[in-house]
Symmetry: C2
Subunit: 544 residues, 2 copies
């Protein structure tokens, strides 16, 4: 083979090669639009000049404490300006941002702090008692910094911790922040909750964060100066990389300490929000608000949802209220959303129920994800594109994690065969759109037949009296397992098991009809995911 | 220094690392929106499925001829579907696309073919006589393929060449096309015309093309399914990477064989064009069209212009006609546009003449360009941000070329000090926006004082009787040099040198007032750049 002349004397050099990092987005926004509002939080407004200066001050202050490349800085914060500053200031001193889910218990937080070898903890005053409990259990002794959010009004109790704003004030606003040495350097670590074993620390790098942040803007057709409302927790996969996306388009972050209907509707109208994200539960919360709280929206607001397919009724209500809903899917291991239900214009002419069915599919790869498929995990060959054959959803590309921190066995297992194994089961429709059919754990095996709990849930969701449905396996003497349905009834819609059983018999094969219907409020995580393991425990006590 | 634990056992692997290449954009668009219209050309309409299949066929047919990694495929084509297919099909077999400016002469084309070691030439039937002349002069003996564009109606003469469509038909539409081995691999080579010495072959890579293509979409706030009209020649810096941008957002290319007012207005209205690019001459052409040809545009169409600052009158006319004009700047060495006059909302409230002055500035870095500055080339230190101190415009980042092909001396010189030296002179305004003040050659030195020809031109452009102005140096017995102004008068606006001299005296320092005013049509290149060297020659014969 002849040599490639296009590789002779045409190497990388500082003029034509720089590591990709989303940190350069903020530098640009602050340089081009210094006076544009970057952050709104209650009465507080930060311009891009201020946001950038404060991020550099945070980086500088951390560097003065000896924090640098490869060190972990933990943040336990609500969706506040401090959390946005951490997304820039921490990597600007070379360190890695470890965001902590604020709903975890002290033991898990202690495990994370130790495993990540945390050197600094920045915690909101509200979470300080929990953090102190965790620190008492942990081996590491990080520098403790408390953020006193002006929007948090509970009375203060004295704590032995540095004050966040004072700490930032000690930093240099002109600090010569560090570019990553390599775009493969870690920018953040996020622990997955994991249903079994210890949490795993998902390591993300600058390259992936840069690419997914841009992918978000392209996927959501985000215009320059878009206004983004923080209904999605930033501790959840770094807020799906939106803290970085907004700088790329010099947009405005509208912070939100608590996900409640009133401040959401107020922000939507007053700040002229254009985009927001959240699980379907956030949509339900907004839609079920009293009419006096709701506001007229003009133009249409873009809502990006994940974690569960949006039910038809909710989609209809959202449309009436002035939202366009797009369904996304991804995992912490894919920087948040890496799959989008990319809508076809022609689908908008279909009847609402058909639209809802199409919208319930997770969809196709994000632009920066090079590969997405549903494979047989044993043979690694793609399943038939028939919308029926189950396989495991797998990802490959530049928005897949570096791996699990200090856990080579889990990393190797996740990447077997050159694909990232999501653990989610799904199908591929003839048009190439994938659809989750179940988490592996959620398959119900009845008389040797696989039943997808999601399929049963979808039927239940279509009944007007059902607000939330969760179906799990329940032991059965004859069939081994049978479905058990937990139902949260819609308000003002009386319902009983006879009605729902008849409905299921009408729409499902007989063996898929739940043996029991349990009516109760469905437990959810802070990010809106239904906590099926709780119901699985409950169902184990029942007999079908 | 302690080692970085975030680099332990977290290496690249096929699941989490893929070379960046815009070729994946087309694969995605064809997979997600197979039936969406990708290309419109007269009566011809190609869907994304067809566009992708034909590109793979072209790649397959080239591979069958033994073309592969590091080979050059030359294309001398108008803005036709074949040219778009070349932007994908050529790199899909691992080869490098060499686009040839269709206005060059045979000797320069022959030089390029030899220097690029061209193995295949794909030429439009219209340019075949010129290409044959060039091939007779060249040493290389490439495979010759003729594209017979259905929109080119002149009678055919027999040629010894393969037919493009037959060649493509011989390829496999399911061809397993080649990803680049490395994202640093070359995707294209474009020769700069160069005012002295041989043309230089600017080598671009897959990484830069991927990043600039996305940067275009973000910079132009391009929505999904945008419709792009090809008024910009694709042979010019690969059409500023827009052949790749459109696939990223599954948009529609509207081809255009000839830049004439009638088909432009027709396409704008009939195809509902959203975006187009071109030099100011394209805007003039559209605006000066008879009223019967013009059409109502709704909503606003985005026009991106480069090569010269858009004059105030033209901006006003464009606004009335339904366009929003954005000023871009870049070089072949920066993949086309790498600088944007990023507009501030508040500027839209200023009087039109102030808006025009602000819009004449080249602006700030594109998102994927990491660095842009005006430096003193001797000391490499930034000039004062005073809008006055001249320096050389320099670039650094991922959208700067690999280097000049087979020309290490020129490559090294261009990258001295870790920045790409553009050769353009400019200033930085206090707000960080750069403005070109002159190409190095266009400085007029009069009595030891530097005169920027652009400054004089700007004053002339503000006079209503001036359609085009070009100012160059003219010998002067006393002062060495003095400005000479070439003027293309506006239609129906009688003007003479006394009027313009008085105008210049009113708006310029006395030593900057041109010694002569010459009235004539201003010669331009095919891409709309004013050919100053022709006027410089003419001015050498004059005496001020």
């Amino acid at each position: 083979m002849h040599s490639n002349p296009y590789n002779d004397g045409l190497d990388r050099n500082p003029a034509n090669y720089q590591p990709l990092t989303p940190l350069t987005f903020l530098e640009r926004a602050a340089s081009v639009f210094p006076n544009h509002t970057a952050i709104v939080h209650g009465a507080l407004r930060y311009s891009y000049a201020t946001f950038y200066a404060r991020s550099r001050q945070l980086a500088s202050a951390l560097a003065k404490e000896g924090i640098g490349r490869g060190d972990t800085v933990s943040a336990m914060l609500a969706n506040t300006p401090a959390m946005l500053e951490c997304h820039y200031g921490v990597p600007m001193c070379g360190a890695v941002l470890h965001s902590i889910n604020t709903r975890l218990d002290a033991a898990i937080i202690a495990f994370q702090l130790d495993h990540a070898m945390s050197r600094v903890v920045i915690a909101d005053r509200e979470f300080m008692p929990l953090m102190q409990e965790a620190l008492a259990l942990a081996t590491v002794k990080p520098l403790l910094i408390q953020y006193d959010d002006p929007e948090f009004s509970a009375p203060a109790t004295p704590v032995e911790a540095l004050d966040y704003n004072a700490f930032v004030a000690g930093g240099d606003p002109e600090f010569a922040w560090l570019m990553p040495e390599d775009e493969w350097d870690a920018i953040s670590i996020n622990y997955t909750s994991g249903t079994t074993g210890d949490p795993k620390g998902v390591v993300s790098h600058h390259r992936g964060a840069y690419l997914l942040a841009q992918g978000n803007a392209l996927t959501t057709s985000m215009q320059k100066h878009a206004v983004y409302l923080w209904t999605l927790p930033m501790f959840h996969c770094n807020g799906w990389c939106f803290p970085w996306t907004l700088s790329a388009i010099a947009g405005t972050h509208v912070c939100l300490r608590q996900v409640r209907a009133e401040p959401i509707w107020e922000a939507l109208a007053e700040e002229r929000v254009t985009h927001l994200c959240g699980a379907p539960i956030v949509m339900s919360l907004m839609i079920s608000a009293p009419e006096a709280v709701k506001r007229d929206l003009d133009p249409t607001v873009q809502f990006f949802t994940a974690a569960a397919p949006p039910p038809e009724k909710l989609l209809a209500d959202m449309k009436t209220a002035g939202f366009e809903v797009t369904h996304l899917y991804g995992l912490t291991e894919t920087y948040g959303p890496a799959v989008v239900n990319d809508w076809h214009q022609a689908w908008s002419d279909l009847p609402p129920e058909e639209q809802a069915i199409l919208k319930s599919r997770q969809g196709v790869r994000y632009l920066p994800l090079e590969g997405l498929d549903v494979l047989d995990p044993d043979t690694m060959s793609p399943v038939l594109r028939d919308g029926k054959t189950l396989g495991e959803v797998m990802f490959r590309g530049n928005v897949v994690m570096k791996g699990y921190f200090r856990n080579k066995a889990a990393t190797d297992k996740a990447f077997v065969g050159g694909w990232f194994h999501s653990g989610d089961l799904g199908v591929v429709h003839p048009d190439g759109y994938i659809q989750l059919k179940d988490r592996s754990k959620d398959i119900i095996i009845s008389g040797g037949e696989n039943i997808s709990s999601i399929e049963v849930e979808e039927v239940l969701y279509r009944h007007p009296a059902v607000s939330v449905a969760a179906v799990v396996a329940m032991p059965h003497e004859k069939w081994g397992e049978t479905p058990c349905a937990f139902i949260e009834p819609a308000e003002g819609q009386p319902v009983d098991d006879a009605v729902l059983r008849a409905w299921c018999r009408e729409h499902l094969a007989p063996y898929k009809v739940p043996g029991r219907f349990v009516f109760m409020p469905i437990p959810r995580t802070s990010t809106g995911k239904i906590q099926k393991f709780l119901m699985r425990e409950q169902a184990r006590e029942l007999v079908g």
